[in-house]
Amino acid sequence: MEESSGQKRKRIIVYGGLCLIVIIALCIAAWGSGIGNAAEGDSKNKEISADEVIIPASSSSSITYTSNMQKGGVPPGIYQGLVIKDLNGTFDPALAESWDVSADAKTWTFHLAKDALWSDGVPFTCADVKFTNDYLKSNNLTLAFVLNDVQSIECPDDSTAVITLKTSYSGFLDQISRQPGITISPQHIWQNITDPQHYEDEKFIGTGPFVFDQNTAGYARLLKNDAYYGKKAQISGVVLKVITNPDSQVLALKNGEVDVVSDISPAVAKSLDGEKNIAVYTVKDTGAYEVAFNLAQYPANITAFRRAISHAVDRDTISSLFGTGRPTETTFLIPSLAGKYVNPEDVGMYTYNLTEAREILKNSGFTWDGKGLLLGPDGNVVTLTIPLGTKGQASGGNQKIVSVLKNDWEKLGITLSTVSYDDQKQYKKAINANAVFLDSFPVTLHDDADALTNFAVTPLQDTNYYNYNNPEYNALVAGIRNTADQTKIMSMAYQMQDILAKDIPTVPVCTSDTIVAYRSDRFTGWDLGQGYYSVTDPRVLTNLIPVK
């Protein structure tokens, strides 16, 4: 009897003990990993200075990098390419100070920066450029696709790189500088690494205006590169702080925990209005939303139908729904961005006019039944389904466009429905099976003739989203690819825009701007104008000046 209660006591002690041991073990494991992280930090031990800008990062994966060989995205400002795409339609020098191109746009000669150093002190030379190309390709790394056009890279001397392409390509600079682009990697580091797929880079040796310092417990820190050969940063460093919730990012800005918050909604921007020490600016977008046609599907295969629809897209109303939107007036090119490449004759063609749309439909074999539904030339009711992908979904952009279209197209007798797809592959399939789709490239630069090649069929691109295939247009695309002469490129770009205006493979809708809020009591120099939507763009960061 008494023994049994003794046993019970013993059992309680044993279970309690086991639980305690497990808890203690887990705690030790937790601290252990913490201590490991702390040790990493200790090796640097550089005090945070007031001149370091603190920027929120919305996910920890965006500051957990492995290496620049596997992925394009690494901490900003560490790695550089040969040139930087300038948002005014030209290219700025980066590791290449200047460049020449042969008349056939096949051989590109880059004159490299002579005093560029890797952040560990090793000089940068042409060998690194050659190595980057060879290494990506010999190790079958994903990013190698960006350099597919490159036949070989030769180094006549340390500061000259001669890149020979397989075929002529006037847009080569665009290719290597536009997202994802290619950054140059240090040969002296990577030549010893045999398994780049699974290599964890902890040092990030680059040539850029910033040097990697550490990545610890929700923070990543970059310091100013004092040995940088170009325009040195005036801030002493950049700290990326993980704040996953957008609302918390705004609270952190108000509290002064971070210095800037990007991509805020118009409502939030309004609420920040009048807030002390906080300023807001708007970055004009470089991309656009479009109502696009799949020319392989009825009724989008009828040119008159597309022309009628081009007058049934109420771009003003849609862009007002965006809050930060502005209607776009040309096919694919954005006048304020593409400047001289825009054919002025083709601006302002897509006026919103339902009567005109009706007229065009009536004159090209469309009729209406008793209930007012639109009947196609084949006598059947016209119904349209728009597949919606993940692009533009997060911002609700697609829904805003669809809500306006539904209303207007109903007046034309067209019933419109939508289907959403989470998966890119299925979405692409759905695009191919439907006549109309929405597309949005809120980031992509719609800025030069090269952007127009999207509509072409070329030996490298056997089809396009629009299933648009006009031999005359394709010839022009081949033409601009094969020449480096800017006047020729411009006149061909004008002709291409004329053809697009006639064929209407897509109807431009609007651009949607990015709103940024920053602490005006900390740094100035954020607003660099159109296209600089990213506050971690190295050009923005090097432009910042601390407010003393």
């Binding site: 059992r11 279970y15 808890i23 887990l26 705690c27 494991a29 937790a30 601290w31 990993s33 913490g34 201590i35 702390a38 040790a39 930090g41 640097k44 031990n45 550089k46 005090e47 945070i48 996910s59 920890s60 994966s61 957990t64 492995t66 290496s67 596997q70 394009g72 995205g73 994903t142 190698a144 696709f145 597919n148 997202q179 994802p180 797929q197 699974h198 964890e200 550490q214 610890t216 417990a217 929700g218 923070y219 700290v239 993980v242 704040i243 996953t244 919730n245 609302d247 918390s248 609270l251 952190a252 108000k254 509290n255 925990e257 989470d422 998966d423 890119q424 592959k425 299925q426 490239f441």
Partner: protein
């Protein structure tokens, strides 16, 4: 009580369950629409370079028939190779463990406290069932649960972190970590608010179960018997009511402890605490299959282990459950 043969058989079943879990996880994940490389390439480029896709498939063996991939996967698991993340190129297991450790800093105290407080409140409420205090608590819990957890979390941040500034807005540590290294007290300071919130949600869940269990038990004759014996109320509660009412909680709490590996996505989102929950959602969004497989594998192991533990524990605590009798 438990006998050795039964225990062996039970472990055998657990092994079988594990194999089934691994198989199901593998096929469900691999048959899920969408793949990492397409998503990734389309996110960085406006056209899809087919050769890059093919190359990736080849590198990760995704071009082989599915059954062949399955065999390779199982062989790797058995040898302790959990594979490499598509996104990060790093081995999956250490990645998961690192995230899990951070999650546990919040989850472990929250779950333990939540279970303990939930049991105490539930027991008290059930013991006093029908009384004014019980009804007040019960109705409070109903209201608390009716409002989404996310809203409470946002409000807590707004009130305690932003307006009153008692706690930080989020994150693991203060920015001083960059200069002076990790300070455990600082981590604790950052963990308090999320732990309190998560604890209160777990309390609410356990409160209902414990209260119901308690109400059921105090209706039993042996409680009346105990009173008739002349035991004072405290003795009736501690010696008879509580011990019996706790039995249904054993299984439930064991599963809660096992469930913490999945983390708490909303707490991690609101408090910028990038742990296992965010790793899972991120991997799911990116279709990073090796990470998902690793997390589900670990989860299967924990759950199966928890079931085994719950069985053994329950058989020790509840003499009516005799294992291996049949």
């Amino acid at each position: 009580m438990i006998d050795g043969h039964y225990l062996l058989r039970r472990i055998g079943y657990s092994g079988a369950a594990f194999v089934i879990c691994v198989t199901l996880t593998f096929f469900i994940l691999h048959l899920m629409p969408g793949d990492y490389i397409t998503n990734y390439l389309l996110s960085i480029s406006n056209y899809l370079p087919q050769e890059a896709v093919d190359q990736f498939y080849q590198q990760y063996g995704l071009d082989r028939p599915l059954w062949e991939q399955y065999v390779i996967y199982v062989c790797n698991i058995l040898q302790g190779h959990w594979g490499y993340s598509y996104q990060y190129g790093l081995p999956v297991f250490p990645m998961i463990m690192q995230k899990l450790t951070w999650s546990l800093v919040i989850l472990l105290p929250a779950v333990l406290l939540g279970i303990a407080i939930g049991i105490v409140l539930g027991a008290w409420s059930g013991w006093k069932s029908g009384g004014k205090k019980d009804l007040a608590l019960f109705n409070f819990m109903i209201v608390f649960r009716a409002i989404p957890e996310f809203w409470w979390a946002i409000m807590a941040v707004w009130v305690f972190a932003f307006s009153l500034q008692w706690f930080p807005l989020g994150g693991f540590t203060s920015i001083s970590v960059l200069s002076s290294g990790l300070n455990p007290w600082d981590v604790l300071y950052h963990a308090i608010l999320p732990i309190c919130l998560l604890t209160s949600f777990i309390v609410a869940g356990n409160y209902y179960v414990m209260r119901n269990s308690m109400i059921a038990v105090i209706g039993e004759d042996y409680i009346t018997t105990a009173r008739a014996k002349g035991l004072d109320e405290r003795a009736v509660l501690w010696r008879h009511a509580l011990k019996n009412a706790l039995l249904p909680m054993v299984t439930m709490t064991t599963f809660q402890v096992a469930g913490i590996i999945m983390g708490s996505v909303f707490i991690e989102t609101v408090f910028s605490w990038p742990g296992i929950g965010l790793l899972t959602t991120d991997a799911l969004r990116m279709r990073d299959l090796p990470i998902l497989e690793g997390i589900f594998l670990l989860d299967a192991l924990m759950t199966i282990g928890a079931m085994l533990a719950a069985d053994i524990l329950a058989s020790h605590l509840d003499p009516r459950i005799r294992m291996g009798d049949q």
